[in-house]
Symmetry: D2
Subunit: 332 residues, 4 copies
């Protein structure tokens, strides 16, 4: 018997664009409270990076009438890998076409996931080169630890809402090569509430979770990494002292085992400060599934995520389109 | 211009065999002090795993007259990936032949690295299935946190001494597909003191460091992961209270940025308890190099590793064969 | 103007007795899960200590039909200090008389607080002398870190329910010399919901919180210290893996700023694993007060303590005697 | 038999004055790197506090030709306690006379310890009142966590060198009421190398260590507290990235069990960032002693403090007056 070889064409999540109706306040949140650095400005956008990000920019804040997620950029493992994925995307009819690449990136191919989120794939990327002011005494650190605010180290992952989780999950697996790690499956495994996927040993780089309002293209949260749980606890103090609403945490997720802290940046997007979790190296890792009963206990140490964690996403929707009530779950 | 695609055939370090002249004491160290679990015994060997290891066994302790490293097992990403690597190894004249696989693993191909360390590549692996006693309340954790001793989570990496670092480093890159991450290069970059390599986003799974005694096939250290630096500090207390000699740490490495703690297990092998470090996702990561001057400052926060860190390895050698003095360095 | 000098006669909380209807299970909780050591057994009681407790015993578990708190032992600062407090207690009509002292303690004077909790004051105390097995390599540590379970370091404080908080608080201040640190005062400061007091720079050794069921002599919780927040997080994993119900936390209190984790030991008593907080050295520290509005935000980082935290105490009461509804508050 | 009652007249270390020949750089170190706040300036002095200090000011930096320690201020527990200590100091012939008190403190009595260090005792102290900018959302925190630099929480203790340790130690015990906690005693207990003392349950507020250069009135180090060991590790990164020389640590002391990190502020004074340790509540705590053999193992986890830790103090001395070589020890 011959088994098809797994796809290994996407290297990692490269950058995320967030829309914000309050650009100055959002910038303050990411720069002064989270401790990121501004590297570029153009038009209605500001480009940032965290001190441990090797790329020139990993977060783009763009002024818009509504919060939400803009373009999600995935880096290919090689030029050939990019071409293979572009071919697959075009065959799937999801391609939007090539661009010259956003700030710090080369030629990029834009596409939609089935839910309508905008993504792109690219290979060429400009590495960040620290000036004297930012250079670390550690040669292997792209810039020095800022000692300002939370001090997030790097971007980590994002969770997208979708009308049809299995369709988007299959797209991520079959067209992009993501590996499935965990799932919440209700109604005897027939109702896929959420799926967590990754192209790397990191537990998940992408999650698709059902949009209980029946909308499309929305963002549940975007996550930034800190190196340890004490940093997450310290972040909770810093957010609180800065008047930032903490929606949930610090606490420990069941799926991913990660230590989380959710707040809303001033523009309205849910941002997670994230650490812990575990790495998955096994190529035949068997995805872990959770049913209604297993989720009923709430988060790992007990307690439950607040109702807003299910109800709120960006952009907000006026009319609820959901015709079925989805039982409580935790889109970690 | 076409660039050759990178090899992505090895998934991760699968298991390590250590030789020990004091099997009972070594077992006590790994089971009672580090908190690992015994899963199997056969002949002069005991098989263990850490609570977060997904495989049935990741560490094999084998009674021998001298300490040192036995077979190092690398897991292939797919059956096809295994065949490709076996072909490359045979072409390189380093193959030793197929075995039926050690406990918990399928058909395996043994080979030598140029320095004479014994390695093998395999694909099939038996996953650990916890019984009632070991089952975690977290479905994604292979067995529950033991709450005994240090509580190491999983195996992480190993550092091998070698007569000829560049030759072994090139072998790892060209034949096995490892990516180079950091190097210590002395004498204007002409003398390769050590090289750190990985097949995954983990900073390094394998290091080759020069054997200043000119011996072959020796082990510098084997590393086990804990989830945070507080666990490393706690481990230092536990090792001390158990009368285990701490050679160095807890402190922070320059290369890998990891938080380390080195002790000798009773059989004599140097074991590192390890956390922190950082992940490398970029497929074009430019290896970081350090010269004499940059290493002169010692470890990151100052201070130096003890002389034994350079001098001692397993098995010990009687006659020093080194004809050149190698300046001080830190084989992290 | 002459100001009366403050009383400084009580040195610290010396020991606590807990009643349990499930002595074997409670012993398992304190010994195997929390990592305490059994030092003595007599009658229906087991005596324990934590590895950092300097006294021979600090916790007594006594079999009883109902959970709850037994005798609470306070150590005097000197024999003279003991005599002064005994005189004041007798004058207040709260004395119960002298005993020869429980295991490890000299002559002790028993008394009631106004709510009916049983307390005693003593001066002579037997220090713990570790045998070879328990001796630490640190001469200033009474016994070595056990590396078993949670590894609580020492007893910290207790919170008692009372029918009449101001009366008991005034008793603690005037008769025993406790200093007031924080208060929850509702209804424009006229309704004293809870008061936190200490004889040492530790934030509180004793809290009196209103018993919303109108009962007397009950225990809200007993707290044990661990050295850092990572240990509290680790404890949450250990409790969960051992099937212990976590009522609240890990999270951060408003008052005391402490990091908390509440569980019920198998006998039913609420036990807190506790770290962080802050020390108060100022002799004129102005007590901090919180009103309804300030408490409405829940705990420090948001979220609320569960209803059981207000409703449940030991021993449980059948008939609710409270004739007024007390608004939600957090008896940290 | 009647035992004399212990003195309990000093409440805590209130403030420390440091001399610096580089006032601007020293200010940068304490304000920008350690994260303290400037509250006042007068003459050649700047007054600072840490975010958790309840007093208006706890550190005074004064420009001087040489680094070293200026006036050390101890707060009395009550006005009567102050008068008692003043009487004892005058009787001992060590009094220097009353002042109106430095910034934020009332009437103060200055005196010398036998080694010539300048100290004062006071009772009245102005509490810090945060403005809108500094006010914490926690009512029990004097000002909000700054999220800038190391973020030291409060001053902790100081270690003074002295020509004659037993004489100064006895002075602290007999005249001021300090309790002895640990000692390094060499030559069969006849040579007192260092003594650690406190007026509170904090392990030590004051240490006297032998000045191996035979000088008088010098400072070994001044310590500032952070809430956990992760903060100390984080501080090591921040110091390193700011080019501050780290002399020793982060690591764990034998005596006090504390987690330490020593650096030199730009003016030359040795500053410790400090956490961990343990509280001593027992009024009859038996001081712990260490001899040559017990100190030979170096610090708790192994390794040794650098030679400079013994040799360097402020102000530096030109001529070495020591006529005996003092064996290696660790003035923690």
């Amino acid at each position: 018997m011959t088994v098809k070889e797994p796809i290994q064409d996407i290297a990692h999540l490269g950058a995320v664009e967030l829309f914000t109706p309050k650009p100055a306040e959002s910038l303050w949140y990411f720069r002064d409270v989270l401790g990121m650095e501004v590297v570029h400005q153009a038009g209605q956008s500001v480009y940032l990076r965290a001190y441990g990000d090797y790329a020139l920019s990993t977060l783009k804040l763009t002024e818009a009438s509504q919060p939400g997620v803009g373009c999600i950029s995935w880096r290919a493992y090689s030029p050939q890998a990019m071409e293979r994925r572009v071919a697959a995307l075009e065959q799937a009819g999801l391609g939007l076409g090539w661009t010259n690449g956003d700030f710090g990136r080369g030629r990029s191919f834009r596409f939609n996931d089935p839910d309508g989120h905008v993504m792109e794939i690219y290979y060429e990327e400009q590495a960040y080169e620290a000036g004297d002011e930012q250079r670390s005494t550690l040669k292997n650190l792209p810039s020095k630890y800022p000692g300002r605010g939370v001090g997030v180290r790097r971007i980590d992952h994002l969770a997208l809402l979708s009308q049809d989780v299995p369709r988007n999950r299959k797209f991520a697996e079959d067209i992009l090569g993501f590996r499935l790690r965990e799932q919440i499956l209700f109604e005897n495994g027939t109702k896929e509430i959420g799926s967590w996927l990754s192209n790397t040993p990191v537990h998940h780089e992408l999650a698709y979770v059902v949009d209980i309002k029946g909308a499309r293209g929305r963002l549940h949260h975007f996550s930034m990494w800190v190196d340890n749980r004490e940093d997450v606890l310290r972040a909770a103090d810093i957010l609180t002292e800065n008047g930032i609403f903490i929606e949930a945490g610090p606490s420990k997720h069941n799926n991913s085992q990660a230590f989380y802290l959710y707040s809303y940046e001033p523009g309205g997007n849910r941002i997670e400060i994230y650490s812990g979790s575990f790495l998955i190296f096994a190529p035949d890792f068997k995805p872990v599934t959770w049913n209604e009963e297993e989720r009923a206990g709430g988060v790992y140490w007990g307690g439950a995520l607040p109702e807003s964690f299910i109800q709120y996403a960006t952009p907000p929707v006026e009319t609820e389109k959901a015709d079925t009530v989805v039982p409580a779950f935790d889109p970690a």
